[in-house]
Amino acid sequence: MFHFDVVTNWIDEFLRTYLLDGWALFIEFVVIGLVILTVYAVLALILIYAERKICAFIQCRLGPTRVGPFGVLQSVADMIKILLKELIKINRVDTFLFRLAAFLVIIASICTFGALPFDKGLHVVDFNIGVFYLLAISSLGVVGILLAGWSSNNKYTVIGAMRSGAQLISYELSCGLSLMTIVMLSGSLQLSTIVEQQDYAWNIFRGGIPAVIAFMIYLIAGHAETNRGPFDLPEAESELTAGYHTEYSGIQFGFFYLAEYLNMFIIAAIAATLFLGGWMPLHIPGWESFNEVMNYIPPILWFFGKTFFCIFLALWVRWTMPRLRIDQLLNLEWKILMPLSLINIVLMALWVIYL
């Protein structure tokens, strides 16, 4: 297995041999920051293209074909356009909050993105409270959305923001609870430990029925957290024109747009890490030669493969289902998913104790 920790460790040692520790760290921070931002942007472009193509496939269309081969440069063109679009100064808005909101959303998204374990050693910080950190920082985004809706001085955005607040805060619960189920199974909050434990059986297999239930709940709740259909009430196009970001133009709208796609990636990546073994290849105990073959596929590909599988599920649902109504949405959370996750935690506790 080729792990990226070889590369990262080599860079670290190389810098430390020639520079003071402080300087080496500084350079590493800057490089990591740049790399994270670049990967973030590139991933967003890939995701936007992928969504358009998959959506077109589901709808018997072709999707982008003209810009570059098979339309792959379509999202690049979009990016150039949106970067140079005018930023409108709107009368009678709370300018400071209005500008801040877009940054809050994207900062929350980038911070979460940075903490994902892409590979062994390809991990910005390996907190011992990794899962907790992911949950905490990703829920900061809702503040940005609420601010955006409130500061825009527009009735649609306020309704969108209030819907968003209600939705995100509710679904945060079952999202967290289903992750807790896995934490109980692995006995650790540290992401690297959780991944390493799944060497011979991914959590979804190891944890039996409670883990499968938790996986389902997490997919639903996580999907709801990304504000995408059928849970796209905050920006319900046919109801609220564009929801909480109605008044945003140019790159500020681009931030919301990017964050939306990257949140989808983050949710899928967390699902892949905690339930599907992260970068760990598929190993089956006893099938040694099969495991050897699987080891030839680099872990980073495993990680992205699993993540894109989860993303595909999300897109599939999004382009098939109609939108929920706000009361149905909250009913689903508070009357079905929440009690189910609580019961599931008890089940998992029994599973961990007795098996």
Partner: protein, 543 residues
Amino acid sequence: MKMIDKLLAQFAYASVTSDGKYYTVAVPKEKLHETASRLRNSALAFDFLMDIVGMDYGDSLGTIYYLSCTQFPAYVIALKTETDDREDPIIPSVSDIWESAGLYEREVHDFLGIRFANNPDMRRLFLRKDWKGYPLRKDYDANPEINPVPLTNENLDDMETVPVIEIHNGLKEEKTYSLFEKGEYVVNFGPQHPATHGVLHLRVSLDGEIIRKIDPNFGYIHRGIEKMSEAYTYPQILHLIDRMDYLSGTIHRHGLCLAVEKGLQLEVPERAHYIRTIIDELTRIASHLLGWGCMAMDMGAITAFVYGMRDREKIMDIFEETCGGRLMANYSVIGGVMNDIHPNFQRKVKEFIPYMRKMLKEHHLLFTGNPIARGRMKDVGYLSKEKAIALGASGPTGRASGWSNDVRKIEPYAAYRHAEFNEILRSDGLTFDRYIIRLDEIAESLKIIEQLIDNIPGGAYAAKTKAIIKLPEGEFHQRVEGARGEFDVYIHSKGDKYPYRVKFRSPSMTLVSALKAIATGTKVADLIMLGGSLDYVVPCIDR
């Protein structure tokens, strides 16, 4: 029919004439309200007010109320009244007898300046408050300098202020009230909004997500078709009527052709009847597919919309070959159809029928059975049969509530008498019924087409007409079943090549008042969905 004769004989002051199933009753305006309420409350119960036509007779102004009863829907009474006062014409309102009269009277007020006493809402319907003059009056000055293109939006306070004129015991009292109270959270949906099916402007008072009041505003696509028609010959009017309700344009055009042919007493070849009927039914399928897709899109399922449009393209292909146009088929003309059918027409239609049946199954699979869709349509938007009749919400909406109102059955026109088909009726009147009835009607339309397509008789496709078509003096009324409800044409001719007055009953206008009735108390998302389930077309309302 004896019962109607007996009933009308009670009105000693009225002059009654009859022509088959079509009765004309003229009453003085003082007796109008009394006559109307007696007609409504008699054993026959004329409970369906089809339309109110405002008339400018030159020296007097008048209104004509078209009434029909749900027991014997083929009988139509035209109740007429007049007023000599051109400065301040006031006619008693019948909005307390028929709920649908409210909007119709506002329309007459807007066009002719007649005010209706005791109507709770006497704002202009289509034109802005600052519009000078009443366009349908014969002495209207159409000089564009009097009414230039406005550069500022209409004042919202003006929109809310409702003038009323009340007459109690002969005392006239004029007052105004405001529609919304101070502090209400009023949101504008439209005129530019993705889900208003055109440019409808809904002012909605919200309490959180729950809708308290709805105030629809029309006129953002009012093109004055009725006024323009008065200066156009009959074949020219045909082209305007396509552009009213563009989704069932062919059917409406058919209606106008029938009305003119009725006036000319023109014998239309049987072949033309068959072709028109098939084209009408294809239009209905196309319209319902679009309605289905738009409703799904309003609920957030964009894929369903694309599927609907995909199948609609097949019909557009058939139209294109035979009629030359995609959306605007321009096919029916007075006396028949424009051209003979394309040699491929029958083959293509026959290929289309099994294809559409297969796709209907797919549509059901994709959307009807979807748990979210079912959950959202459940128990929302109940429209009772009585309410549907009172509001005049005809067409699929009324039939979903159990009101049998299909003109194709009531008064079979064209080739419908040769086809066996069922009028789809449902009893619950919920959103789901309005949704499913459209898909069922597609299946039923396919059945009609299947029966007719092989039996198109030979012969001429159009009767010979004179180069200049002059309608004899008189009034002509024709009903047809459009895709979203009953479409009526009323022509008043003075023997010229131009009509003296043309009025079209817009089926969509009553649907918007139905929206007002059923959406109050539901949530914002439901409002959009209910709009989709009623499937109104705004340019048809505004004309």
